[in-house]
């Protein structure tokens, strides 16, 4: 006695570590079930998160509340008009949506023409879109260099163009395109900006003011795409109702039967997003349930081994009691043992699990970068499969508690057995 408490504690810990290391099989089995539980949990949560992050990232490429309208041709006769009429949009429809659709916010038409774009001796055939300034936000373009089309460009029908990075790469061979003039068809356009967004979906293109496009490439003033963002459509029902009323509205403007699905194509990303959110809910629930089940399996495993090991140690406990160990000291040792095992092996499982998810993440990022520089569209369904550490700590904590409870209950019972009887157990 008369020694420091810390010193004393150290001796106790040393004694526990000796016990653990001398009973390797028992320690390893208990530890493995803990490590494995935590490991699987992390992998599962990581996979769930990766799936979620992957799909979400695809949506973040565009505004999720975006509605795209494409013109079609009628498939039903309507008010004396025959079917099979092409119904391209005009500025009238643009105004109808802007003024009469309450939910609409940003809006842009899009004319589309394929033109040869050249700079010096370099040339390529690209889609040229005539758009409004809002296009940038609706399609989430990233103008890394220069600026996008602005209101003044539209008002003054400026011959300015914003080109995709890949177009710049082809035409300018790594030099900056900003301020240079390119020839689009037969007309010279000044490059005012470059879209540096890593385009996963579409083709390489150039963007010019809507008014300029109408003037130069679109003599009949007709176009076949309108994109706009909507607000407040947060349920499936609202989206369905919205689509219906939109169809009626456009039907009035363009003269077609609102029932005629081919006269107008509506692509509602918001509705798709809501659907996907629902699927996420299901995925999250699924992963959570599996996680909980894994945790329960871990708890059962730890408890079982603790139960067996305490039972196996009845004799040892009896001996310790007979030579003067108070029950409290024995229980304390057993609980400390289980805490140490679950904590250490839980930590190992955590390191391995996080290590694996990070490794997968690293490999995927590498291949994503490699793909980004290659041609062709790509889509990720799996991204950043990492786990919220909070869950991991919580799971480890749960296993530690399970280990303590599973150690305490049989230990309490075991120390109540009379030493002589305990020691007679062979």
């Amino acid at each position: 006695m008369g020694r420091g408490y810390a010193n004393n504690m150290l001796d106790h810990l040393q004694e526990i570590f000796i016990t653990l290391s001398k009973n390797k099989l028992r320690t390893t089995l208990t530890g493995l079930s803990v490590s494995w539980g935590i490991f699987i949990l992390i992998i599962l949560l990581g996979a769930g998160n990766g799936l979620k992050n992957g799909v979400t990232s695809n949506f973040s490429e565009r505004a999720v509340n975006r509605v795209n309208l494409w013109s079609g041709s009628t498939s039903m006769p309507y008010q004396g008009l025959k079917s099979g009429r092409n119904l391209p949009f005009s500025e009238k429809e643009l105004n109808v949506i802007d003024n009469e659709v309450q939910q609409s916010e940003l809006i842009t038409p899009r004319t589309q023409t394929n033109q040869t774009v050249s700079f010096g001796s370099e040339y390529g055939a690209y889609d040229i879109y005539g758009v409004m300034p809002a296009y940038r936000d609706i399609y989430k373009l990233e103008i890394g260099i220069g600026r996008f089309i602005n209101e003044l460009d539209v008002k003054e029908e400026n011959k300015v163009i914003v080109i995709d990075k890949k177009v710049e790469d082809v035409l300018f061979k790594g030099k900056s395109a900003l301020g240079q003039y390119v020839k689009v068809g037969q007309v010279m356009f000044k490059v005012v900006g470059v879209n540096t967004k890593k385009e996963r979906w579409g083709s390489t293109a150039g963007y010019i003011p809507f008014s300029t496009a109408q003037l130069i490439f679109n003599p009949n003033k007709k176009f076949n795409q309108i994109a706009f963002t909507v607000n407040g459509l947060d349920t499936k029902e609202k989206n369905e109702k919205f689509a219906e009323s939109l169809r009626r509205l456009m039907g009035r403007s363009l003269n077609f039967d609102p029932q005629d699905k081919q006269a107008l194509w509506i692509d509602n990303a918001q509705a798709d997003y809501l659907e996907t959110i629902k699927i996420f809910g299901a995925i999250t629930l699924f992963v959570t349930i599996i996680g909980i089940l894994t945790l329960i399996a871990g708890v059962v495993g730890v408890s079982n081994i603790m139960l067996v090991s305490v039972k196996e140690r009845t004799r040892e406990i009896g001996i310790r009691k007979a030579i003067g160990a108070p029950s409290s000291s024995i229980i304390k040792s057993i609980i400390l043992e289980s805490i140490i095992i679950t904590a250490i092996f839980g930590y190992i499982g955590m390191i391995l699990g996080i290590g694996l998810t990070e490794l997968i993440n690293y490999i995927m990022e590498q291949s994503a970068n490699a793909q980004a520089s290659a041609d062709g569209p790509q889509m990720s369904i799996f991204k950043n499969p990492t786990v919220n550490l909070g869950y991991v700590y919580f799971s480890t904590f749960v296993l530690i508690v399970a280990g303590v409870v599973a150690g305490y209950l049989p230990a309490r019972k075991a120390v109540k057995v009379k030493p002589i009887e305990a020691m007679r157990q062979e």
Binding site: K22, A322, I323, G324, S328
Partner: protein
């Protein structure tokens, strides 16, 4: 040292109630060398458990060194065990994942003696048992006699006043039995009260006082006078004295317990 007065003990199970000790009266002085004999079921192990504060009793009194051992808390019981009593068991009861030295040192762990110091003390005790060279061997590498000597060293390390041995030679051959009994006898000569539960006549013969139990009562008792010059065995009477024989050999005197 040990005083038992009208000690009763019953075991209760769901089906039956077993009256194991039926009024034991016993006085053991400090330094005595006692054996307790009796058939199985006579209550001798129960009596040893109670003496070792490993079990409780229902009625009567047990005074250990003047202290009434009754209704002790778990901690107190452990404390008295640790301070007063060393146990030696038939099956040695060494912890099989600790080597001889660690086994001997274990009681001192519960007395908060530092590892270094308790290992040192353990080595001294092993040396005394002639097992210094075996200190780092695991129990499964030791012979029966060696194991029992390790167990005795462990019992001795906390300097107990009393050694309680439950069939200490039950698992040993005759030669080893003799060795172990010599060790116990030597310990007794250093002044430690030694109480041995045995069913072997030869073991009991080594002690100075033999208490015979039958059906939870002391049937009779024989005592060997160890005073110098007196080599006879002197019968001791308990209830109604009824001396009948005082021969040269060990004598057993029936004590009339029956009304």
């Amino acid at each position: 040292m040990i005083t038992l007065r009208n000690l009763h003990k019953s075991y209760h199970t769901e089906a039956i109630s077993l009256h194991v000790l039926k009024g034991i009266n016993m006085d053991i002085e400090a330094g005595e060398y006692v054996s307790i004999m009796g058939a199985s079921g006579s209550g001798k192990s129960t009596l040893l458990n109670i003496l070792g504060i490993l079990d409780t009793y229902d009625e009567g009194e047990y005074l250990l060194n003047g202290t009434l051992i009754k209704n002790l808390g778990e901690k107190q019981a452990a404390h008295y065990r640790n301070e007063m009593i060393g146990f030696v068991f038939q099956s040695f009861n060494l912890i099989n994942f600790k080597n001889a030295m660690e086994n001997v040192a274990l009681p001192l762990y519960y007395k908060n003696v530092s590892r270094k110091k308790r290992n040192l003390i353990a080595m001294e005790h092993l040396d005394r048992m002639g097992l210094k060279d075996w200190a780092h061997h695991m129990p499964n590498e030791l012979s029966g006699g060696q194991k029992q000597r390790v167990a005795i060293a462990r019992a001795m390390i906390s300097n107990p006043k009393i050694i309680l041995a439950d069939e200490p030679t039950g698992a040993l051959d005759s030669k080893t039995t003799e060795d172990v009994m010599n060790v116990l006898t030597e310990l007794n000569k250093t002044g430690i009260t030694t109480i041995i539960v045995t069913h072997e006549q030869s073991v009991a013969a080594a002690t100075n006082r033999i208490i015979h139990l039958k059906d939870g009562m002391i049937e009779y008792e024989t005592r060997r006078d160890t005073r110098p010059g007196v080599s006879t065995t002197e019968p001791v009477m308990h209830a109604s004295p009824n001396p009948s024989d005082r021969g040269e050999s060990e004598t057993e005197i029936l004590i009339n317990n029956k009304p």
